[in-house]
């Protein structure tokens, strides 16, 4: 990645803004704090002028609450990632945040481990998008397949298997899903669904070797809604059912 990801910090408490800046400087020194806002209206105005890659947004802030400010920012800048940083952990706030499409929710006081996981995920999505955009700007068309392939692989790595799907990947890469589907086949030689199934089966095999896990739990973790279908696909790919596979390798699986 060559461009530095930019961050807008929105919080009415100075102490919280200082704490977030410290977290960024310790854990993500390559990010740039483009600006800070103390209320929702200023946050929206600053976001529109600075066009940050990531907004760290408090919820209970003056003038316009953080959820409404996030909606306004995402309407104008859909590729911006919003991470909520709030002292309030009510289900209602979290539900509204999820519904408007925020990338993560952090509860104050924020530990370094939580910040690294949640902000790091948003940053990985931004970096993947920047990587693809740079490739397209430098070499439009299929003239730089290695760079595009790397960017897609980075974007896939930024997603959990539970959320990995063509639409989600296209969202991370800021691309049209149909275009991504064609590009994927061109670069990888197989369809995206086959590739993602392979990743899930590999993860399932790894989980079955060393974990006491049921098929249902395995499916839940892998984002597979139908356990019978999972068992069928697993058998097609490995020649064994998950249970038989776990037995064969001596694990304690289902």
């Amino acid at each position: 990645m060559t461009a530095m990801a930019s961050v807008l910090i929105v919080d009415d408490e100075e102490l919280s803004r200082i704490a977030v800046r410290k977290l960024l400087s310790r854990l993500f020194p390559d990010t740039l704090v483009a600006g800070e806002a103390e209320n929702g209206r200023v946050a929206v105005a600053l976001a529109l002028s600075l066009r940050p890659d990531i907004v760290l947004m408090d919820i209970r802030i003056p003038a316009m609450n953080g959820i409404d400010a996030a909606v306004a920012i995402l309407d104008a800048l859909p590729s911006t990632r919003i991470v909520v940083v709030s002292a309030y952990d009510s289900f209602g706030f979290a539900q509204r945040a999820i519904n408007i499409g925020v990338s993560g929710y952090l509860l104050k006081p924020v530990s370094e481990a939580d910040f690294a996981a949640v902000f790091g995920k948003a940053l990985a999505e931004v970096q993947a998008r920047i990587g693809v955009a740079q490739e397209q700007a430098v070499a439009p068309g299929p003239t730089a397949p290695a760079g595009k392939r790397d960017a897609i692989e980075r974007a896939i790595a930024s997603l959990s298997l539970r959320e990995l799907g063509l639409e989600r990947l296209a969202d991370v890469l800021d691309m049209n899903p149909q275009h991504l589907s064609r590009l994927f086949k061109e670069l990888f030689g197989i369809r995206f669904v086959e590739y993602s199934t392979g990743l899930r089966i590999d993860a399932a095999k790894a989980a079955l070797t060393d974990q006491d896990i049921t098929v249902e739990e395995l499916c839940r973790r892998l984002g597979w809604t139908d356990s019978a279908h999972f068992t069928k696909v697993f058998k097609e790919r490995t020649g064994l059912t998950p249970k038989a596979y776990a037995r064969q390798i001596g694990g304690n699986g289902p």
């Binding site: 102490l15 410290k22 006081p109």
Partner: protein, 134 residues
């Protein structure tokens, strides 16, 4: 001031104190205050149930705050790996620990979630107690 308002004020105060500790690089204070923050939020919640895993995590935070007892998990039909999917009455373990801590209860405490089996034993003063037979 109502109890709920007081709870909210206390949680906000502890949260701010923890952030201040982080900014001042007082890492032990940050860890202690973060444990207190998580514990008081959990205690103030109006939810009726929790997973055994959540209750055990907050019990761990209480042990950090209180400092007078230790927690030993027993391996049995319900191990720590299964604690995320078992629902128990929220605060049942923590209330028992509070009684132990204040000297009004007797240990060890045997937790019996709905699938049966020993999951957790508490003792006072950091002494490991034998796991009772389920």
């Amino acid at each position: 001031m109502t109890g709920a308002k007081m709870d909210e004020l206390m949680i906000v105060a502890i949260s701010r104190a923890a952030q201040l500790a982080y900014v001042e690089e007082a890492h032990a204070a940050f860890a202690y205050l973060s444990a207190a923050d998580r514990f008081f939020r959990y205690h103030a919640s109006t939810d009726k149930t929790a997973t055994l895993g959540e209750e055990l995590e907050r019990l761990g935070d209480f042990a950090v705050i209180d400092g007078s007892f230790s927690i030993h998990l027993a391996s049995g039909p319900v191990g720590p790996s299964g604690s995320g999917s078992l629902f128990i009455k929220r605060l049942s373990l923590i209330d028992a620990a509070l009684r132990l801590s204040s000297g009004t209860g007797e240990g060890p405490i045997l937790v019996e979630p709905n699938v049966g089996g020993a999951a957790c034993v508490l003792s006072r003063g950091g002494k490991r107690l034998p796991v009772p037979k389920a």
